[in-house]
């Protein structure tokens, strides 16, 4: 399909068979499989390096700390950050977005202020803002999506007035695959007081991202959607923004001094990492980043465009199948949501599962977008580096079987 080659051999889980055939894993937008390199790195950490970080005066703790901080440096390099200090390790993209909502929004928003979002957001980029809006009296306003499933910017000038203090947008929809208008919004907020937050949970794993050029103030993403383990994510912030961000969790590790009445925060980024961090997970994410850099993110993106184009093409052969997402692969990622006739998404997912094809069915944690699209539930196939054309063929074959089961012929 592309010069990425067949990397499936790097992923032990993909060697499993279901119904006597290799598993076709098409749910990478939910979580990705892990390459040997990540699994072995985590295994080795627990066998050889396990100790708490930034605490012990012994050599093992120092080695664990070095490995943890090296992972931070790898992630920083991967996204083009100016320094590792711009990278905060979190539990995932959700926690990263909550850091901004509570650490920035809660302290700066007041009655009459506005938070500008889009209807295409994942719940994790809606609910934290709703919670903070409730506490501050701020108001949420939304950019709509157009008929091509792209964020509609036609009324941006009208919506982006001086009341807007925060703009938060997905870099890539987990439902429609549409790329978010990050560059356009970055340009628009440049002349305003508003900060731009990018939910990069889908974008960062699937396309080259350079924060120096992104134009965002904050970027959130998750490790487990980019070949790393669960329980680790990243909040990147511009140094001047992180300096003004309030910690949302207090505890050990995030202080330089504590008295009975007061505490003084540790420097950035440690002030945002209260308690023992997910050490093995951070180091595992570092290994995932190494793996992706070896593949090359340009090649990752090219592979995804190619397999998505192939999938959209093959899916168009199936009668009564509706795809919810842009046709032009240059404007989208590899999450492909669809409906097939009157077959409910859960029924379709069950039938596909019986054919060894793993897909997601439901509202994809984006109920406002689903309502906007007029869909109750969709089936979603999502692709990553290990998917090949045969996976798409198996999906299409199983969809034809589903038509039979439901008597659509």
């Amino acid at each position: 399909m592309t010069d990425l080659g067949d990397v499936r051999g790097d992923f032990p889980l993909l060697g499993r068979t279901f119904e006597g055939r290799p598993l076709v894993y098409l749910d990478s937008a939910a979580t990705t499989q892990k390459p040997h390199r990540v699994i072995e790195t985590i295994d080795r950490y627990y066998r050889e390096l396990n100790a708490n970080v930034h605490r012990g005066a012994y050599r093992l703790s120092a080695a664990a700390t070095d490995a943890y901080e090296e992972a931070r440096a790898k992630v920083a390099r991967f996204i083009g950050a100016g320094s590792p200090e711009e990278v905060v390790f979190t539990r995932g993209a959700t926690t990263a977005l909550n850091h901004v909502a509570y650490g920035w929004g809660l302290h700066r928003l007041g009655s009459g202020d506005r938070i500008l979002l889009t209807v295409m957001e994942h719940h994790s980029n809606i609910v934290p803002w709703q919670m903070v809006a409730r506490l501050t009296g701020a108001e949420l306003v939304y950019l709509d999506v157009d008929d091509e499933y792209r964020v509609d910017l036609s009324n941006l000038d009208e919506l982006l007035d001086e009341r807007v203090k925060i703009v938060s947008v997905s870099g890539m929809s987990n439902v429609t695959g549409a790329l978010g208008p990050v560059a356009e919004l970055a340009e628009a907020v440049a002349d305003t007081e508003a900060v731009l937050v990018v939910d990069g949970a889908q974008l960062v794993p699937h396309a080259p991202v350079d924060v120096a050029a992104l134009g965002a103030d904050f970027l959130a993403f998750s490790g487990h959607k980019m070949l790393g383990p669960t329980g680790i994510g990243v909040l990147w912030g511009r140094p001047e923004r992180l300096a003004d961000l309030e910690p949302t969790e207090g505890g050990g590790e995030m202080i330089v001094d504590v008295t009975l009445t007061d505490a003084k925060w540790a420097p950035v980024p440690h002030r945002f990492e209260a308690g023992t961090p997910p050490i093995a997970q951070a180091i595992g994410l570092g290994a995932a980043v190494d793996y992706l850099e070896d593949l090359g993110m340009d090649a990752v993106r090219a592979h995804e465009e190619a397999i998505t184009a192939y999938a959209l093409d093959r899916l168009s052969e199936i009668p009564d199948l509706t795809v919810y997402g842009p046709r032009d692969v240059a404007t989208r990622g590899g999450a492909v949501s669809f409906e097939l006739g009157d077959i409910h998404a859960h029924d379709l997912a069950t039938i596909l599962d019986e054919h060894g094809v793993a897909v997601r069915a439901g509202h994809h944690c984006a109920k406002p977008l689903m309502r906007r699209l007029g869909a109750v539930a969709t089936t979603r196939a999502s692709f990553y580096v290990y998917n090949v054309a045969e996976d798409v063929d198996r999906l299409v074959e199983a969809l034809w079987k589903a038509r039979e089961v439901f008597g659509l012929d």
């Binding site: 009157d342 077959i343 409910h344 998404a345 859960h346 029924d347 069950t350 039938i351 019986e354 054919h355 069915a361 439901g362 509202h363 109920k367 109750v376 539930a377 079987k401 089961v405 439901f406 008597g407």
Partner: protein, 152 residues
């Protein structure tokens, strides 16, 4: 794919596509709603009970074929039954589906003799993640009966 044919029996697809007793009730009735938050399936039930007998029932909802067909068949099965008989039906259904522990009450030699059309849902047992779909209307029914009992 015999399991799939067993799961999506003709009668299930028929109830999915042509749900019986769909609508709402006017006049005195109890109303209960159920939702499976993990998948978004919704089911709602209007129930009229007079002198201990289910004299009218109407259902609403949206979701997969299993949840909606289960609700449609349930609505037909409970209409005209006395409340204890409805409770007996609920208990048998739960045993058949393996939701409650115990022997299935279904007689394999006489299909349909115990729970009628509802027996078509037995195929769901082989798909454990889908059992909650079949059960949604029944937990909603239990809620409606509790409301009726409490007089709300």
């Amino acid at each position: 794919m015999a399991d799939l044919d067993e799961l999506y029996r003709e009668i299930i697809l028929d109830h999915y596509r042509n749900p019986r007793r769909r609508g709402t009730l006017h006049g005195p009735h109890v109303h209960a709603e159920g939702v499976n938050p993990s998948c978004g399936d919704e089911f709602a039930l209007d129930l009229r009970i007079e002198d201990g007998v289910v004299t009218d029932v109407a259902i609403q909802g949206q979701g997969c074929s299993i949840s909606q067909a289960s609700g449609s068949m349930m609505a037909e099965a409970i209409l005209g039954k006395e409340v204890p008989a409805v409770e007996d039906l609920m208990a048998k259904f739960r045993l058949m589906m393996g939701i409650d522990e115990g022997d299935s009450p279904i007689d394999p030699n006489r299909p349909g003799s115990v729970l009628g059309d509802l027996e078509a849902l037995q195929g769901v047992r082989r798909f454990p993640v889908r059992i909650k779909c079949a059960d949604l209307p029944w937990t909603t029914l239990a809620d409606a009966l509790a409301k009726a009992e409490a007089g709300t």
